[in-house]
């Protein structure tokens, strides 16, 4: 199969379904765009059901029901049932606020396979401050217990930044106490709201080093007890992350309003033409939409990526980050030490202040 020219078209594995941008929490590192989709623009139940059927036919295996807070959708149970009915593995990514015990039971009956709950910190006061929502921490603990009680596997997701980076051990202990089989230690990635709050969130190089050592130690200590996955803090990296496993290669993202993106941040790149599930079949979007073909393969690359031995390993890093930091989405992700602008990233990481968070709000 060929997409543009002789670029090989891969089969996507995962679909991130952003069911809504509405969310009661205000986390200052939210991965949603600064311009959030209003409720009136959200896709209806039937359209999501069609998207799931088309995704399964395209070869997608897993759907991640996310947001915003997916619990803000009154039809979440029907949406989950439709995804399960299409044969997809269903993963609910939730803040826990807005998912009642009754809803969870209905989701379990509808075929929900897995739940991921975000935790902002190991102590209630700090966690609720970061989330910008009093009582969030208590609700997360309660939902975690309900998930485990229904024997649904639980992942605890911890987003790591300067305010909680010294408590990784405590946060993993909390995940264990909650009965999680997996914990994600995800250092903030600086897009959208996190980019806006970068100076308030950025840890120091010494903190990042200690955090990496802590994760290594915890992995050894809890081997076989809990799976610890880590997302690295790439401003301190020498090599870039292979973002979304390569542009238009493994996954796609559907926004609340129905636009299909190669990754959740792709709308931050100006000039890309995204197609909507309201007007196109998902398979056509995957194969032919200009945004998906913009950075597929390697022909769009410039030096030093073009002739780099790693070009098929990390695909030049992240396009959104290249644009955010250099103004050119086809440039080498400057996180890479081969980038001529790598020094600027190091300089940016050194700019830290304790300004109040700009909470994510509609």
């Amino acid at each position: 199969m060929a997409a543009n020219g002789n670029v090989r078209l891969h089969t996507p594995l995962g679909l991130l379904a952003e069911l809504t941008h509405r969310c009661p929490l205000g986390c200052p590192y939210c991965s949603n765009p600064l311009k959030l989709d209003p409720r009136d623009d959200e896709l209806d139940t039937a359209t999501w059901a069609r998207v799931f059927a088309e995704a399964a036919a395209l070869g997608v295996l897993q759907v991640h029901l996310s947001g915003g807070e997916p619990g803000a959708r009154r039809d979440l149970v029907e949406i989950t049932a439709a995804a399960h009915g299409a044969g997809l593995y269903t993963n609910l990514i939730t803040s826990a606020v807005g998912i009642t015990a009754d809803t969870l039971q209905k989701l379990a009956d509808a075929g929900l396979d897995h739940v991921q709950i975000s935790i902002q910190d190991s102590t209630p006061k700090s966690a609720d401050h970061i989330a910008g929502y009093d009582g969030a921490f208590a609700r997360k603990r309660a939902l975690a217990a309900e998930v485990v009680g229904l024997k649904i596997p639980l992942t605890v997701n911890v987003v790591v930044h300067r305010a909680n980076i010294e408590r990784i051990e405590e946060m993993v202990a909390l995940a264990l106490a909650l009965g999680a089989s997996r914990v994600e230690i995800a250092h903030v990635q600086y897009y959208g709201w996190a980019l806006r709050n970068r100076t308030a969130l950025m840890p120091s190089a010494a903190q990042v080093e200690r955090a990496a050592a802590a994760v290594e130690d915890l992995r050894k200590r809890h081997h076989g007890e809990i799976v610890i996955d880590a997302v690295v803090p790439d401003y301190y990296a020498r090599l870039p992350k292979p973002c979304v496993g390569g542009w238009g290669r493994r996954s796609l993202n559907v926004t609340p309003a129905g636009k299909v993106l190669p990754c959740h941040a792709a709308e931050s790149i100006p000039g890309l033409e995204f197609w909507s599930v309201r007007e196109h079949a998902l398979a056509d979007i995957w194969k032919d939409s200009p945004a998906f073909n913009a950075f597929r393969g390697t022909s769009w690359m410039k030096e030093p990526c073009k002739s780099c031995a790693r070009r098929d390993i990390d695909f030049g890093g992240c396009r959104c980050q290249a644009f955010a930091l250099t103004g050119d989405a086809a440039a080498t992700d400057p996180v890479c030490h081969y980038s001529p602008r790598h020094d600027e990233v190091i300089a940016l990481a050194a700019v830290r202040d304790d300004a109040p968070y700009a909470y994510r709000r509609m």
């Binding site: 089969t11 594995l13 995962g14 395209l58 070869g59 295996l61 897993q62 991640h64 593995y89 993963n91 396979d113 897995h114 991921q116 024997k151 649904i152 596997p153 992942t155 089989s181 997996r182 081997h223 076989g224 809990i226 799976v227």
Partner: protein
């Protein structure tokens, strides 16, 4: 040679936990193990082993069946199965 995996009781009845499924996908070109936010391609040997982890068959019975089906020495099958099941259990993909 890698270090032998710790033994598994002969009467253990391994099974996939809720949230882990072995499925065949034409589009992905074969069998895959679906797990929380992860997908693992399963090779022929893995498929033959995991398919037998129903929660009903004992380790003993699984090894006997594989030894018979593939006409292979039981001891070698036991070592291979033990290593694979331990590896899966460590990744929370299997309950022993």
């Amino acid at each position: 040679m890698t270090e032998a995996a710790p033994a598994i009781p002969a009467d253990a009845r391994p099974r996939l936990p809720r949230g882990v499924r072995l499925v065949h996908s034409e589009a992905q070109g074969g069998w895959v193990l679906l797990a929380p936010e992860r997908v693992f391609k399963a090779d022929t040997i893995a498929v033959e082993i995991v398919k037998r982890c129903t929660g009903e068959a004992t380790l003993d019975a699984i090894v006997d069946d594989l030894a018979k089906t593939f006409n292979a020495p039981r001891e070698r099958i036991l070592a291979d199965v033990t290593a694979m099941l331990r590896g899966l259990a460590d990744k929370k993909l299997l309950e022993l």
